[in-house]
């Protein structure tokens, strides 16, 4: 079965440094989501792409976070500079329609 790929799986960084996460969705899935999951909480949507266009980034802290999906396939989420409160699991998901998301394994970020 096709899967969503994410890398790295784990990232440790110091505050004020830049970090980047990569996601490769299931082939043919036009919709791509980035979620942030703080320990003990449910995932929260950061940004949603339809092909290469951002359709929802209302919860993305745009002063430090950026996301792109240049060719409408894979995507990169960047944080610069990282803060202690950014420590979380970052999940990528892709979907054909109706919001049913196929999730990747996630990237666990620890900011020291």
């Amino acid at each position: 079965e096709a899967e969503v790929a994410q890398s790295p799986r784990y990232k440790i960084t110091e505050k004020s440094q830049a970090v980047a996460f990569w996601c490769d969705p299931i082939s043919g899935h036009a919709t791509l989501y980035w979620y942030r999951q703080i320990l003990g909480q449910g995932p929260e949507l950061l940004v949603q792409f339809q092909d290469e266009s951002v359709v929802d980034d209302s919860q993305l802290p745009k002063d430090r976070f950026s996301a792109e999906r240049l060719k409408g396939v894979d995507s990169t989420l960047k944080i610069q500079p990282a803060e202690l409160g950014d420590s979380a699991m970052y999940l990528c998901a892709s979907s054909l329609d109706e919001g049913r998301g196929f999730f990747g394994p996630g990237t666990r970020l620890t900011v020291l």
């Binding site: 989501y33 449910g42 995932p43 929260e44 949603q48 919001g99 998301g101 999730f103 394994p105």
Partner: protein
């Protein structure tokens, strides 16, 4: 605004016992509802979904859920729990409109006693 409530933060059951995890949603129209499971340090795996039709939905790993519009609920059930079911379970609703956005509950952590 659409929302999902999972009233139970943590549940412990004995292996072989039955399980019911509660989920209540707030949504104006007929919702699209999901249950996901997350093992420690892993991504989310879809257990089952409800879009329309039969209100009793069968999923993977022996799970089922029942959509009850009158109670705004979508509870997850399993007749006999296995030790491998220990994980965190998330209920989610799709916020349909200009975008289809999954909104998650806060999760229920299931522990299974031998």
């Amino acid at each position: 605004a659409q929302s999902v409530t999972q009233p139970d933060i943590h549940i412990t059951v004995s292996e072989g016992a039955s399980l019911e995890l509660r989920c209540n949603y707030s949504y104006g129209a007929t919702p699209y509802l999901f249950w996901y499971v997350q093992s420690p340090g892993q991504g989310l795996q879809l257990l089952l979904k409800y879009f329309s039709g039969d209100t009793l939905v069968q999923g993977i790993k022996g799970f089922e859920a029942e959509f009850k519009r009158s109670q705004s609920s979508f509870n997850l059930r399993k007749p006999s729990v296995h030790w491998s079911d220990a994980a965190e379970y998330f209920c989610a609703v799709v916020s349909r409109g200009a975008t289809n956005k999954l909104i998650f509950g806060t999760g229920t952590l299931l522990a299974v006693q031998p």
